[in-house]
């Protein structure tokens, strides 16, 4: 090979796509060196396309800063120097470095956002020997051939250094916060108890935990208040409907009974209000909106949705998903996308309808992203069989794309006021008159349809039955991963690319559990300590202020060095105070860790003594695990049951449908999980006992 252009991409799939798009015959040669793939394409000249594996460099403490805190000195190093299990990165960098030696020009083709820019910058600077200054930049939002060719031909003359500086500052500040505060907490607990457990917090993690703790406190302290609602079963024109009492909330039982006793016989419709209203088409998906919709429709958590969207992007099926834009510029060529989609049976008629319109104008939202448009289908069709989640997300993106071009839906609401014995009731209905955009978004539309019989003023209404419902006020709902992500977006903490990971970290640290998020004792304790000793670190305002300063770097209003110095100024006194009170903090954290571990091992109430709790225990003598009652240690209960010694045991919080005893879920190897009931006399084990399975395991599919 003579001299060539070296293109750096973020992922191997992107390298393959770019190579194939740029090669004149679309047959780029795949090469491999020590397991590292790269591609050689022929165009105006020879082009070598080599992928990264996401971040190949990371922020790390210098040699003196390992295993201690505070640490404010750092450097960017190859990941294999800072992380266990990243040894393959060494070979990867060697190959890139070698390929860079024969290159006479360089192009950074990593994703056009903060992370992609840092990935490309680090490789060009460190592995390619300061080539970041001479490198050009490819900017694209889809991996389609047309867009890649265009972005190669019109590549930007240099890297976006302001974006890179801002990205570096974000990484460095997050590292400073994360490493110092996490080490402070972990060391405090370890020095007090002698046991290691990873505890962490960070610039975004702390404020996030604060939201959750605040919600958890309001739920745990909640005292419900009673109230009553009255409904009536009425007959209008021979059709039975439900009428609601005008006062939605009755505060005393006496009043509820008075209304119920008075409303008998028949009433009369006094007034009919008919309102026609428009429901605009939805706006295109930004990442957050896609994650929220996928959770609500398919129950995919935000991290899973992002992962799927990323795969679809690498398959060139959808545009770049890490976007906050709600705009679809005409340059993406709506008609061409729809034309391509029309070859899929499910979309043929819908796409044809849209293509029949003289003008295609999307209904857009207000948010913009300087780097990418909203998420849209590229019009390419799958080249491989998509799995179900991938199919679901692709279909959702396609249908949303079509829906944004739809006409507003026309809906009608009808409200009939019915008077009976001086009391006012409402009969309400709602229906869609013209589907408009809903037709394109069909299986995902959630529109309430309640059809009423023909109602008109003066019509007599028979009151068949009065229903008095006793109700209680309810606590605010728990956050789930999707609503928490929305909250983060709303208050502006974290970035679109990192929010889902931050939520996941809270689970991994055992600060929270369950899909409807519950804060553990450990989560409470960590936040309480952070609030006591470093309130600023968990303050949303501080996080937002830092976020604004980081964004200021992008607009050349701030310098990276100043923002970093400001962050260190906040951290330094906090770490000093934690160090001084390490003993007290360590004791509280260690106790919380122990309580959380116990909490996790509780299977349910002991069915033998009724007052203790069944927990999983590992025998110190034999090393075997079993189930025992917490009252054993007080000499009150001897209940104990064997557990399978292989596989993982998960507390599932469910009781056996045969005997009501608590159960656990067992998973061995790659086999399907099964439910184990401890009760030897469980009626569901009839027959199995006779075959000698004393403590048998029940396979209860779907329980």
């Amino acid at each position: 090979m003579g001299k060539y252009t070296l293109i750096i991409t973020e992922k191997p799939d992107a390298a393959r796509r770019i190579a194939s798009a740029l090669d004149v015959s679309q047959k780029a040669r795949r090469m491999e060196e020590n397991g590292v793939p790269y591609y050689v394409a022929m165009r105006d000249k020879e082009i070598v396309i080599v992928p990264a594996l996401g971040h190949l460099y990371t922020v790390s403490a210098g040699a003196k800063g390992r295993g201690t805190y505070p640490v404010f000195n750092f450097e960017w190093v190859p990941r294999f120097q800072a992380e266990r299990g990243a040894e393959h990165i060494r070979t990867w960098l060697q190959v890139i470095s070698r390929l860079s030696k024969n290159a006479d020009s360089f192009i950074d083709a990593c994703d056009y956002d903060v992370e992609g820019s840092i990935i490309g910058y680090c490789i060009l600077k460190y592995a390619c020997n300061d080539k970041e200054k001479v490198s050009r930049r490819m900017k694209y939002s889809t991996l389609t051939k047309e867009e890649l060719e265009k972005s190669y031909a019109e590549s930007l003359p240099h890297l976006d250094f302001a974006l890179i500086e801002a990205g570096r500052a974000r990484h460095e500040i997050d590292w400073l916060y994360g490493i110092n505060l996490s080490r402070a907490l972990t060391f405090a607990a370890k020095n007090w108890s002698g046991k290691y457990s990873t505890l962490s917090t960070g610039r975004v993690q702390g404020p996030l935990l604060k939201f959750l703790v605040s919600r958890e406190k309001s739920i745990r302290s909640f005292v419900p208040t009673p109230y009553w609602q009255i409904k009536a079963q009425v007959k209008i024109n021979g059709q039975t409907c439900i009428a609601e009492f005008a006062k939605r909330r009755i505060e005393t039982r006496t009043e509820a009974e008075a209304v119920s006793n008075a409303c008998k016989g028949s009433g009369q419709i006094e007034k009919v209000e008919v309102v026609r209203f428009q429901q605009s088409a939805p706006v295109p998906f930004d990442l957050g909106a896609l994650q929220v919709e996928a959770y609500s429709l398919f129950r995919y958590d935000p991290k899973k949705t992002l992962g799927i969207a990323q795969r679809l992007y690498l398959d060139a099926l959808i545009s770049y998903p890490r976007t906050s834009s709600q705009k679809l510029p005409p340059a993406i060529n709506y008609r061409s996308i729809l034309k391509n989609l029309s070859s899929v049976g499910d979309y043929t008629r819908l796409a044809a309808d849209l293509l029949g319109k003289p003008v295609l104008k999307p209904h857009e939202g207000g948010r913009e992203d300087p780097a990418h448009p909203a998420i849209y289908p590229t019009g390419n069709l799958p080249e491989r069989l998509l799995n179900k989640p991938e199919r679901n997300i692709w279909d959702l993106v396609v249908r949303r794309f079509m829906a944004v071009f739809g006409e507003p839906a026309i809906r009608q609401s009808v409200k009939a006021s019915v008077k009976v014995d001086g009391y006012l009731f409402y009969v309400k209905g709602k229906r869609t008159l013209e589907q408009g955009w809903q037709r394109f978004y069909e299986p995902y539309v959630r529109a309430e349809e309640t059809l009423l019989p023909l109602v008109k003023e003066g019509l007599v209404v028979d009151f068949k039955k009065i229903i008095v419902e006793s109700r209680f006020t309810e606590p605010r709902p728990r956050y789930n991963p999707s609503s928490l992500l929305q909250k983060m977006e709303e208050v502006g903490i974290g970035t679109k690319a990192t929010r889902a990971d931050t939520i996941q970290t809270l689970y991994e640290r055992k600060y929270v559990r369950n899909e409807r998020i519950t804060v553990t004792d450990l989560g409470f304790e960590v936040l309480e300590l952070l609030k006591n000793y470093c309130e600023k670190v968990v303050s949303v305002e501080m996080t937002k202020e830092l976020e604004n300063r980081i964004n200021g770097i992008c607009q050349a209003q701030e310098k990276r060095e100043d923002v970093l110095a400001g962050a260190i100024e906040i951290l330094e006194p906090v770490l000093k105070e934690i160090r001084q009170k390490e003993g007290e903090i360590g004791e509280r954290l260690s106790n919380a860790v122990a309580r959380t571990r116990l909490e996790e091992s509780i299977i349910g109430p002991c069915p033998i003594c009724k007052t203790g709790k069944l927990v999983t225990i590992r025998s110190k003598k034999t090393g075997k695990r079993f189930v025992g009652c917490t009252n054993y240690f007080r000499g009150l209960c001897n209940a104990s049951f064997v557990l399978p010694q292989k596989g993982t045991i998960k507390v599932n919080g469910r009781n056996c449908r045969g005997c009501g005893w608590p159960t656990v879920q067992v998973r061995t190897g790659g086999k399907r999980a099964w439910v184990l009931c401890f009760n030897p006399d469980c009626p569901l084990k009839e027959g199995k006992r006779d075959t000698g399975i004393a403590m048998s395991y029940m396979r209860q599919k779907g329980r």
Binding site: V223, P226, Y227, E251
Partner: protein, 70 residues
């Protein structure tokens, strides 16, 4: 002194800060319940202790009040 419910340090009125706050809330809510259902303090406590919507801490305080109050 320790909170009789959770063992944390007593802050005020014989409870830790958390449970004291909840006790205050329980007292505050009684008026609404009395007007709504015409029930006594004891009946109120047992109603909220068994209500599934009652928060864990509120239930703990209600049960403790039932056990300790004459």
């Amino acid at each position: 002194m320790q909170c009789p419910i959770c063992g944390r340090k007593v802050d005020e009125q014989g409870y830790c800060k958390l449970h004291a706050k909840v006790r205050h809330l329980i007292i505050k809510r009684y008026d609404g319940w009395r007007k709504a259902m015409n029930i006594s303090w004891k009946e109120y406590l047992s109603e909220i202790a068994k209500n599934p919507l009652t928060g864990e801490w509120a239930r703990e305080v209600a049960r403790h009040l039932i056990e300790t109050e004459d």
